[in-house]
């Protein structure tokens, strides 16, 4: 998909920003470039859409040398998202989203349709289309910034610290949303960041750079487990090496497999007896295909047993669930922050796969403390 061949960038003042860089990126791969400032990560990215010219070597996109293509055409064929967001303040959200479509002279109907379609992807209501960027919050603006990059459905998207300027909570949810989106749409992503958490969370492959050279390029798991040298170790931070395990453990590995469920058409009476038999105070509700529909707890039954018959009449449909392959680190964080008693685990099709409860977490913390001989102080610090 994308290939760097002996790419070198020298600036006119004599500094070498990128030295003889070689890298191959596959279609659908999410690659994070990371390193201290001045390491050449942004330069590397900007050479791909020719915002910066290559001094030596070549970059191939789909086996075609980018130098042989018209720079403007090339940029229109790639998505581009930057930290400063850069929405056009004088254009409506709709005009902003389909800007590249406008440059490519798409007909109006096609643009309108595409804008609505994209806005749905991030669950924003349609009346945002006619607003102006300054009426949106920072997080919403960057959502639009991401949509704008997706507008003409480019296979490759370049992102320059896109979530760097957002507050931590917004950043968290945008990262989540974006990772999901990327999996759905199967885009190839080149993502520049200086935030290790972000890189480990999002990337399929993390490329660590220093002084214009690649120090290590590997999966997040391998980087945490086998840092190539001291620089990488230091860059990862000691904390992360200690927490190495939860860093790369997925939810699937620790979840409990058979949560207590009832199907949507169960009567409340039989639901309450299931609760009693299993000694639980709430039940997950699934349909006949094991797709998670909601949950029902003892309070809901108590309030409604006279009015309603079936579980699906009273169940709560807003369930917070996590994907089986998401990282445990993030999940633990969320369970603790939301004060949830348990989190159902689902696969891509929202089929119920298991459950993580607070008791599961107790096991995990027990293992960490007693199993690995880690000192209590460290856990306390990590828990904060």
């Amino acid at each position: 998909m994308l290939e760097f061949k002996n790419v070198t960038k020298k600036y006119s003042d004599g500094t070498t920003a990128v030295k003889d860089l070689n890298l191959k990126v596959d279609t659908g791969e999410f690659v994070c470039f990371i390193g201290p400032s001045g390491c050449g990560k942004t330069t590397t990215m900007k050479m791909v859409n020719r915002l910066i010219d290559i001094t030596e070597g070549s970059i191939l996109v789909d086996d075609k040398d980018i130098k042989e293509q018209d720079a403007v055409e090339l940029r229109r064929s790639m998505g581009y998202v930057i930290q400063q967001i850069g929405l056009m303040p004088h254009m409506t959200i709709k005009e902003n989203i389909v800007l590249v479509g406008t440059l490519l002279q798409w007909p109006k109907e096609r643009k309108d349709e595409r804008a609505r379609e994209l806005l749905k992807l991030v669950n924003m209501p349609e009346d945002y289309l006619d607003k102006y960027p300054h009426e949106l919050s920072g997080g919403q603006q960057q959502r639009i910034g991401v949509l704008r990059a997706l507008a003409v459905n480019p296979p490759l998207i370049l992102m320059d610290e896109p979530f760097g300027a957002l507050d931590p909570i917004t950043r968290d949810s945008l990262q989540e949303e974006f990772k999901k989106l990327q999996k759905e749409l199967n885009k190839t992503i080149i993502f520049v960041t200086h935030d290790m958490d972000e890189a480990l969370k999002l990337a399929d492959r993390v490329v660590i750079m220093r002084d214009g050279e690649i120090v290590q390029a590997d999966t997040p798991e391998n980087i945490v487990r086998h840092p190539a040298n001291e620089f990488v170790e230091e860059f990862l931070g000691k904390d992360r090496l200690i927490q190495g395990r939860p860093d790369v453990t997925t939810v699937e590995q620790i979840m409990e497999g058979f949560p207590v469920t009832v199907t949507t058409k169960t009567t409340l009476k039989s639901a309450i007896s299931t609760m009693r038999d299993k000694h639980v105070d709430s039940l997950l509700v699934v349909d006949s295909d094991n797709v998670l529909k909601g949950y029902i707890d003892i309070e809901a039954i108590n309030l409604n047993y006279k009015k309603a018959n079936n579980v699906d009449d009273v169940m709560e449909t807003e369930v917070f669930s996590v994907l089986g392959d998401s990282l445990l680190r993030d999940t633990v964080h969320k369970i603790l922050r939301r004060g949830a008693k348990y989190v159902p685990v689902v696969d891509e099709g929202n089929h119920l796969a298991g459950i993580v409860t607070r008791a599961t977490l107790a096991n995990l913390v027990y293992d960490t403390i007693w199993g690995d001989g880690m000192e209590l102080e460290d856990t306390a610090a990590a828990g904060e």
Binding site: V72, I82, G86, M88, H90
Partner: protein, 214 residues
Amino acid sequence: MMEFFAENGNELLFKTWEHFYISLVAIVLGVIVAVPLGVLLSRVPKFADRFISFIGVLQTIPSLAILAFFIPIVGIGKIPAILALFFYSLLPILRNTYIGVRDVDRGVVEAGRGMGMSNWQSIISMELPLSIPVIMAGIRLSTVYLIGWAALAAFIGGGGLGDFIFDGLNLYQPSLILAGTIPATILAVIADRSLALLENKLTPEGLKDSYETA
């Protein structure tokens, strides 16, 4: 008062028109030259600062002297007057265009370029609309100055309300001086207000709100 109007009314109207016409032609020429030049300068920022200070120095030459210098080159009458005024209109418009375009949010410009806007598209659909308020401020400033300076046109036979003022000075008739000054002032105020309306019309919808709230 009534007597003065009865006697000079027609001439007053004509001179006001002449005054207006000289200023208008000069300012339109100024906009036509200075706005594109300002945009061009924003592409070569290193050169731009030097160039603008150079123009600034040229403009410190007293206007009367400029008019005098122009006589051997272009003679007397309306054209040299318009030329001289045009010359004075350049700096404020040029500087404001340059600064306006230069100060358009770098993030926005980079996003535009990164998404595949050509240089021309970037200027027309992004940089100019976003710098309209600053450019218009330069044009308004220039216009108001120019209407004042246009009185000097009379000095080289360009006509306009300056004729009244010079006659008044020569004949010791304050009423004539006022007859030249007051219409010129009114003209300047009207021009400024109309340009404010124009500015409001040209400023893109999305920018207005943010300016109001800011």
